[in-house]
Symmetry: C2
Subunit: 204 residues, 2 copies
Amino acid sequence: MKDQKELVREINERKIIEAAEQVFARYGFKGATTDQISKQSGLPKANIHYYFKTKANLYHQVLAGILNEWMESAQAFDNQEEPKQALTQYVESKMEFSRKRPFASKVWANEMLHGAPVVSEFLETTLKNWLDDRVQVIQNWVESGKINSVDPMVFIYMIWSVTQHYADFERQIVLLNHGKEFTDEEFSEKTQQVVNLILTSVGV
Amino acid sequence: MKDQKELVREINERKIIEAAEQVFARYGFKGATTDQISKQSGLPKANIHYYFKTKANLYHQVLAGILNEWMESAQAFDNQEEPKQALTQYVESKMEFSRKRPFASKVWANEMLHGAPVVSEFLETTLKNWLDDRVQVIQNWVESGKINSVDPMVFIYMIWSVTQHYADFERQIVLLNHGKEFTDEEFSEKTQQVVNLILTSVGV
DNA sequence: GTCTATACGTTGATAGAC
DNA sequence: GTCTATCAACGTATAGAC
């Protein structure tokens, strides 16, 4: 059984991580201040340090949570055998992630942009392994004539960049759309367009 | 005639702007320090302030330079009438920009990621106008049956995101490539793959 | 576990000699 | 125009009362 203190700890840690993710997304690691995170979370600044010791450690934990979600969405690639179904499901899953978790995507993009100082090891191991498997899947599709001949890495990077663009460059997209955000319906239409472009690009 | 002092000023301002672009790309606006910029430029810190007054002003000027280049590369879209030539030239031009000016691309991406606090006005005016014209060109291609039916904005965002990915996510790409950077030849092959995918995606 | 007050380091910016 | 020395502001982190 969890006692009350553990429960309080869990709730507060979650509040702080959610607040931190937003503030890191908006201002970057250095640009974010513990004061902003405390105000966003509704808890006093000293408590941030009580629960997470340092700002750097808090950032690590925010990224760890994002990595988990990243890998979950990656599994959408595997639930189908045929390229059309697998790719459709994967692209839709990536677009949904951009829609639902724009802060997470931005924190990730920011980390990459600045040289992945924290997640390098994850990229070289877990993600590299995931990628090698997927490259093989795509290679098999090519060899069995199910999709056009294509460099699998270039193709995967296209999927990543196009889908993540809707989160990371959200502000640019809004400003180029008369300052209006997409409705759910509009975003759903954009998603279908993206799926079509990606499927067509490899002849599916 | 320029006297010697003006010449010194020009040379030093250029040195500082180039240094600043690199440091801002690596660490973001807040993460970059004037001390790092001074060391990178080879000039003492006080001179940064002598020439540019404030760090914020220096950042503005770095972005202004990038905007100019952005628009220049944008013109590659107009030099050809037919979709195949126009798109090929534009995508190659964007890929070349990512290759030659990765720091510029990263500073731009960082600015977008954090809500475009400095370049919002440019986006809403100059870039919006450019975009509207290009949307019309693509719409005409669709209506004359030269390319598949497609949402022009989705298509343009695909071109932007895919090409810029090679600069902005450079570190991720290197880490997923056994830590090896692309040679010029490899990058040229990737460029051709990207061109093919984008042309094929709209049936060209 | 919560929170106020504060110490300490870092960094943007300037003064003033050359 | 150049550069060293220094200041003032800010932000992380902690001490210690409750």
